[in-house]
Symmetry: C2
Subunit: 320 residues, 2 copies
């Protein structure tokens, strides 16, 4: 198995690379090579198979052709311009999230090798007046451009899959928390920083009240789900190869209580509560009650409790 991760320098890409290194096989076959591609420099990882890093700008078809070759078996397309960034820069969001996805699909089509393509969408495709809970047959009605671009990506992946150009499957990621590293330009960035910063003795701002419920998944479980996602036989995907990845609905209060249970009372005291006007209009539509039944049936999983998410962060990310 020759595997390519586009977005290999990101939080999920890195966790996925480590999960593949630990597993050593994919789809029942030995992994023979892993390429971590990103717009910037990706870091290599220790693995029992060769790992390469590469530059890839998905907005450039030549750059895409450089990393997707005739011997690429599995492609993870994780690269994206995130929510607040895509809302701020309309053209750039479409360029990366829509045209970039199209460039990857067109490269696969041109090769004619029908690689497995794992596409990551987002729960940002949900919204508007569609009644909750959101289930596998709920309309996508994104209220931000990032969500529109991801919904378009889903339709493209589904159609290219139906036409036999790729063996595609798409997963709408819950909000990933606790994300290690720096804040990003996702409107949901605070949903990690209110744990990440306090657990390291720093202040963080929470722009929503503690009753705010949302749909979460740990980076670790997300990576494991992406491994499982690549392994689902095409015939089990049915007539819609894109689905919502499992997660769990927790309020900010439940998550803070989980942090306190694992790490004591001090971190929670470092959270400041104040509105952030620049993301308020994005967050307004986010009260997500999601039921990802299809993905659960296919073996993808949520975290058991947010205490696990806190523990994973302390063990895997702070320690690292």
């Amino acid at each position: 198995m020759n595997i390519l991760i586009i977005g290999g320098a990101g939080v999920v890409g890195k966790k996925l690379a480590r999960a593949l290194a630990a597993k050593e096989t994919l789809r029942g076959k030995e992994i023979t090579k892993l390429t971590l591609a990103d717009i910037g420099d990706a870091e290599t990882i220790d693995a029992p198979f060769p790992v390469e890093t590469a530059r890839c700008d998905i907005t450039d078809p030549a750059s895409v052709a450089n990393v997707i070759t005739g011997d690429t078996d599995v492609i993870y397309l994780l690269a994206a311009v995130v929510s607040a960034h895509a809302e701020e820069d309309f053209d750039f969001g479409y360029k990366v999230n829509m045209f970039g996805t199209l460039n990857v699909l067109e490269r696969c089509r041109a090769l004619g090798t029908k690689p497995v393509l794992v596409f990551t969408s987002s729960i940002a495709v949900f919204g508007g007046e569609v009644p909750q809970p959101f289930h596998d047959h709920s309309a996508l009605n994104p209220q931000i451009s990032y969500g529109a671009q991801k919904a378009i990506g889903e339709l493209l992946v589904n159609d290219y899959t139906r036409r036999g150009f790729v063996d595609g499957r798409g997963f709408r990621l819950p909000t990933i928390s606790v994300r290690p590293g720096k804040a990003n330009r996702a409107a949901s960035s605070f949903m990690s920083s209110i744990f990440r910063e306090p657990l390291q003795g720093q202040e963080a701002v929470c722009p929503v009240d503690e009753a705010f419920p949302h749909f979460y998944l740990s980076p670790r479980q997300c990576a494991l789900n992406l491994v499982t996602g690549a392994e689902i036989p095409a015939e089990d995907l049915g007539l819609c190869p894109t689905m919502t990845m499992p997660g769990r609905v927790w309020t900010i209060r439940q998550m803070i209580d989980a942090m306190t249970a694992v790490a004591g009372p001090e971190p929670a005291k470092l959270i400041r509560w104040e509105e952030q006007p620049e993301i308020a209009h994005i967050l307004k539509g986010w009260r997500l009650d999601v039921r990802p039944q299809k993905a659960e049936r296919l073996g993808l999983k949520a975290d058991d409790s947010f205490e696990d998410n806190i523990r994973y962060f302390l063990e895997e990310d702070i320690a690292r």
Copy 2:
């Protein structure tokens, strides 16, 4: 009101032009000009206001800029590559239905005049394993590329509307029957020809059995709904400006009985029943039970009975 119809040489475009000519106003203001644009030659119509015809290829941004100008108040985007054609020519389908729509939206955005844009989508966006009946909050899961391209068009129109670049609204058209003129390359073409041809003494082939139920609308009512659709105030559209246009579910048998009631027993004898393998895979997913509640609430209407559809065709199209 300066109105542009892109796709003005098509069946719906022509009926719409005549409906506008009869109405003389739109959105409470006098119509001052109507431009009928099409890839081929559009025919002019008699109207109490100036009518122009123009060539427009929506795949070419310069051609789009030629017909959409700073004084265009309302744009109808009806031009499309239809179902069987888009299935046969993958690249051309995306070029017209996706990139063409994007060219129109980008032109409006560049002008900054926020024109009313009426986009026609199709019930081909529905399908797959999504349970029937399809309602306003059902997932779009197209099983043909035409449907995928129209679903993408909807997302684009919705997002450009939300961002304030156009005052957009989209309507998923039911299968239009009885269509005058020649057969087109839509898989649903037989749904008109089995009435149109026999009513003129010619044979026609029906590739589905008589129990086949589907969702229909007459060209006349479609045109009237497109007039109403342009008049809906933006604030009444809510958070999803695209919706399914009303129609009614009839079986082939009910429709044939309606033809017999209006035109006597002879036409029905001219229908030959035989499978058409080239469209069988498209028709397989078409058992459409659709509930277009939002559009009904906003004043759009279905035909009362298929006898009306037959009568409209005899009066308006054969007579013409």
